[in-house]
């Protein structure tokens, strides 16, 4: 895959230590955010960019304290606006590797508008979407991803709202990169973060994150030891979509949609199993994968979509370069004296 040539590379190899912040990490013990922090600390030095060229931007919420805990340039914004702030950072300086830490409240509710538009524009940056299905920092109100019926501080009889599936929203907004990982699988998280960094365009990594205080085990049907083999599909580009303890089950594409099948049953062989193409331009199958849910289906994890499209920030640079080459107005003095002017 093409490396991002815009961002300056570090002349010396970097390590985890280069990104350690002097701030005390104030997340609860057992919070899934710790795993994300550790994954980022592993990924940043590997990417190879100069350490001064990383910029972390966040909004409000537990997730959004993230920038304080990594030694990069960092900006802790206001509720819902991380995506808008980061868009400005990236357009202003395309030589930065911009990372957004945001949550299901920050990006799905109060900042929903900025979230869909940053994706639609395909600004080249990386969004880490901490999805714990709850408002943690305000102590336990339901969020736009809380499963219907959940009892929370503001839904004592259970929520009556249909939750968002972030993947559907992202692909609906013409997302070019979408990956989903669980906070219980740091290895996959690190791999996926690396893929996100390499992608040119807006990459969204949804992290199924546990909130140990207000929504403990909310992702248990996916992540628990006894269910995970049957409820997780680990996607790998170019490989058949197999899951189950013995990889005995697979996903097949039928005329009406996806279907779970068993190898060896009803004449099904490995050849019948859908092979993952994360680079496909058409998002059709990616959307079907993103929508899969237990108990009928496993949840798709890994990189679901990573399609190549031109990025907003590249086109900004191109338009400016073109204008500079083709315009006769190259200074403000030129501008002031252009058109109808006269001497008195």
């Amino acid at each position: 895959m093409k490396e991002n040539l815009t961002v300056d590379r570090s002349s010396v190899p970097l390590t985890k230590e280069d990104f350690v912040s002097d701030q005390m990490v104030k997340w609860c013990a057992g919070c899934g955010a710790h795993a994300i922090l550790s994954s980022v600390a592993n990924v940043f030095p590997k990417i190879g960019y100069k350490k001064e060229n990383f910029c972390l931007v966040s909004g409000i919420g537990c997730s959004s304290r993230f920038p304080y805990y990594v030694n990069t340039y960092g900006f802790h914004g206001i509720h819902g606006r991380a995506n808008a702030i980061a868009t400005g950072v990236k357009i202003a300086n395309p030589h930065l590797s911009v990372w957004i830490a945001t949550g299901d409240g920050d990006s799905m509710a109060i900042g929903g508008n900025h979230f869909i538009h940053i994706i639609r524009r395909n600004v080249d940056l990386n969004i880490m979407l901490f999805n714990n299905q709850i408002y943690g920092l305000t102590k336990g109100q339901f969020s736009p991803t809380t499963p219907q019926g959940s009892v929370t501080k503001t839904s004592p009889q259970g929520t009556i709202e249909q939750p968002f599936n972030p993947g559907e929203l992202i692909l609906g907004a013409q997302g070019t990169f979408f990956a989903r990982v669980a906070d219980t699988n740091p290895k996959m998280m690190t791999e996926v973060m690396f893929e996100a960094a390499k992608h040119d365009g807006t990459s969204v990594v949804e992290i199924l994150q546990n909130c140990v205080i207000f929504a403990d085990k909310t992702h248990n049907t996916i992540t628990s030891r006894d269910l995970r083999d049957d409820h997780q599909l680990h996607l790998k580009n170019g490989e058949p979509m197999l899951f189950g303890k013995e990889k005995e089950k697979g996903i097949m594409l039928t005329a009406t949609g996806l279907k779970v099948v068993k190898i060896g049953e009803n004449g099904i062989t490995l050849k019948d199993i859908l092979v993952h193409d994360q680079y496909a331009q058409d998002p059709g199958i990616h959307l079907m994968l993103a929508k899969m849910n237990p108990p009928e289906f496993p949840v798709a994890l890994g990189v679901i979509r990573s399609a190549k499209f031109s990025t907003y920030d590249d086109m900004v640079v191109e338009q400016i370069a073109y204008a500079k080459e083709n315009s006769s107005i190259l200074s403000v003095d030129d501008l002031l004296n252009s058109g109808d002017t006269w001497e008195i």
Partner: protein
């Protein structure tokens, strides 16, 4: 072209108002007439007056679109109270604008449109052209549509194009009235319709037809000449306030060597700034049309953090949406220029009309103690200099600045003496040096300004954000005393800007019976009223504020010398109450108007006289 009529009247100044149905091309001929006047040496000010709808129902009062231009042989300070010439293309525009014509004014109408239906739609019971209601005016009633069509017969153009050209016929009549040269207009038309040579031909022929018609018609007994103004030597151009803001920002970016970033969302009457800056990518301007007002300002804050000269432009409702983010720029102490082209409020209010009712919002419309610099432009042309100044102060003092302009400034135009960028004051943002071992995000210099450490710079990695920060060091701090210190520092930093702005000036004597105080767009009307009274020997002076937060250092002193102080503004009394709070040692009278319209000179003179009687 020669003028065959002998009776030429020389005027000091003249006001011409073009009104018609929206879509009749009034803005275009208004602009053409202004440009020709400017090129022939007049000073001028213009004011477009158009409805909120793009095409309101045909021939109704709601659909009337107007353009007023005031030309003169002296400095022109306003777009004029009442007009000398009114061009009314349909009954509705005559009905709604006759009150703005001087008694005895020349009124040009297209009598083809004065049919029963259009007359009724305008709310007339009888035909104003024949019922005597225009007695006392010099009426040129011409079958403009018919004559336009006839004139274009040799070109074989379609009826729609022919009908649309009738505005050019009217313009031809006005050109004749003012003894104007047609050549510069022809040149302008050739440039404007470069890709449509047929349209150039159509318009040229029609202007000429109008001109020739005026020459032969009986109703015109005399024509006017407004001699060239004695303006300061130099190169001039006509400019609207919105374009002037855009160019002032571009100039500040070039001077400071900080790339310009604009994050903005379309809103009347500020959109022209966004459109104008979008044109100048060749000057490196990065313009981001955001998904909403909040994204406009938040993207600008991000760009400012990343080292750009960041701006956002809006009008009142948009400023409301940006409030929280302005607070973020205050606490992160990042430079940011917020331009508010004020319009009539509250809520959606009067989108296309002018008002000064966002002053209190600019001063205090945020949660927490969140002081910002506030500057107000007062003429279309000085929007250039105040936009430049807003950007300069913002970057040099690391604080957001709200620049207040108004719809009438943004859309109105006047002549700008073209400055040289080299002559503009220098701008030196406090950029932090790479690998500065002593760098701390909230360390301050002697002016309480923190430095600007741009991401990508070696050795300056740091985090800032909306949570309160520890003085100097910049870590998150919830310490009570630290919050007090930081609150005081943020306020003191903005107050200190008073050391860097000009002293407040008095126009007229430093002592007298009455000091008239204003701010923003009212400068011209107040100036003309005060000036006229000064000439009569009355002890009236004017002081007009462009710097509002902080006030110039000598502000309190200025008020000392006057028996009465009158604050005039286009709101219910926002500046006057601010002054009462800031300088309670003085008594202030107030004159307010909230009609979406500028002051007219006559109402001010009347008010001033009334007060002087009581002195």
């Amino acid at each position: 072209m020669a003028n065959n009529k002998n009776n030429v009247v020389e005027l000091e100044d003249a006001v011409v108002k073009f009104v018609g149905d929206s879509g009749d091309g009034m803005q275009l001929i208004g602009t053409l007439f202004s440009d020709t006047a400017a090129i022939e040496g007049n000073d001028l000010a213009t004011f477009p007056d158009y409805p909120a709808e793009i095409r309101a129902p045909h021939n109704t009062i709601a659909g009337v679109s107007g353009f007023q231009v005031h030309i003169g042989k002296e400095k022109v300070n306003t777009s004029g109270d009442l007009c000398d010439v009114l061009v009314a293309m349909n009954p509705a525009s005559l009905k709604s604008n006759l009150k703005w014509a001087k008694l005895g004014a020349t009124i040009i109408v297209d009598n083809d449109i004065f049919d029963e239906k259009a007359i009724e739609k305008a709310g007339y019971k009888t035909n104003p052209l024949s019922d005597g209601s225009l007695n006392g005016y010099n009426v040129i009633s011409a079958p403009i549509t018919t004559l336009t069509k006839e004139g274009l017969k040799p070109l074989n153009v379609d009826i729609k194009t022919a009908e649309k050209s009738k505005n050019m016929f009217a313009l031809g009549i006005v050109y004749y009235l003012f003894n104007r040269d047609l050549e510069s207009t022809f040149k302008y038309l050739e440039i404007k319709f470069k890709k449509k040579p047929l349209l150039v031909e159509v318009n040229k022929i029609t202007v000429k037809e109008g001109f020739n018609y005026a020459e032969t018609v009986e109703a015109i007994k005399s024509t006017f000449v407004v001699p060239a103004a004695k303006l300061e030597k130099g190169r001039y151009r006509n400019i609207t306030g919105n374009v002037a803001v855009a160019w002032g920002l571009l100039a500040a970016a070039e001077k400071s060597k900080r790339p310009l970033f604009l994050g903005s969302y379309p809103i009347t009457p500020a959109t022209e700034i966004l459109m104008e800056l979008s044109k100048w990518k060749s000057l490196g301007a990065k313009v981001f049309q955001a998904e909403d007002e909040i994204a406009g300002i938040c993207s600008a804050i991000g760009a400012s953090f990343a080292g750009s000269m960041a701006c956002t432009t809006t009008s009142g409702p948009g400023l409301s949406l940006k409030s929280e983010a302005i607070g973020l720029a205050v606490i992160t102490e990042l430079p940011l220029v917020i331009v508010n082209v004020q319009r009539g409020g509250p809520s959606t209010g009067l989108p296309t009309k002018s008002e000064q009712s966002d002053l209190m919002q600019a001063l205090y419309g945020r949660n927490g103690e969140a002081p910002v610099i506030i500057i107000a432009a007062s003429t279309p042309a000085n929007c250039f200099f105040y936009a430049y100044e807003a950007a300069k102060l913002s970057m040099e003092h690391m604080t957001p600045v709200i620049l207040l302009t108004e719809g009438c400034l943004g859309l109105g135009s006047e002549l700008l003496k073209i400055p040289k960028v080299a002559d503009l004051p220098s701008i030196t943002p406090p950029i932090a040096k790479a690998n500065d071992a002593n760098y701390k995000p909230y360390n301050r210099d002697e002016n309480l300004v923190r430095s600007w450490a741009v991401p990508g710079t070696e050795g300056l990695r740091h985090r800032i954000g909306g949570l309160e920060k520890e003085n100097g060091i910049g870590n998150v701090s919830m310490d009570p005393m630290n919050h007090q210190i930081m609150t005081d520092l943020r306020a003191a930093k903005v107050e200190k800007v008073a050391d860097f702005i000009p002293l407040q000036e008095i126009i007229g004597e430093k002592e007298g019976d009455l000091l008239v105080v204003g701010w923003g767009s009212t400068h011209g009307a107040i100036y003309d009223a005060v000036n006229a009274m000064q000439k009569q020997g009355l002890k009236v002076s004017q002081t007009h504020f462009n710097y509002i937060m902080p006030f110039p250092k000598n502000t309190a002193e200025i008020f000392k010398g006057f028996k009465k102080i009158l604050v005039c503004e286009l709101n219910s009394g926002q500046m006057v109450n601010y002054l009462r709070m800031k300088f309670p040692q003085y008594q202030y009278m107030q004159y307010n108007k909230v009609q979406g319209l500028p002051f007219v000179v006559s109402e001010l003179t009347q008010k001033f006289n009334q007060i002087l009687k009581e002195v």
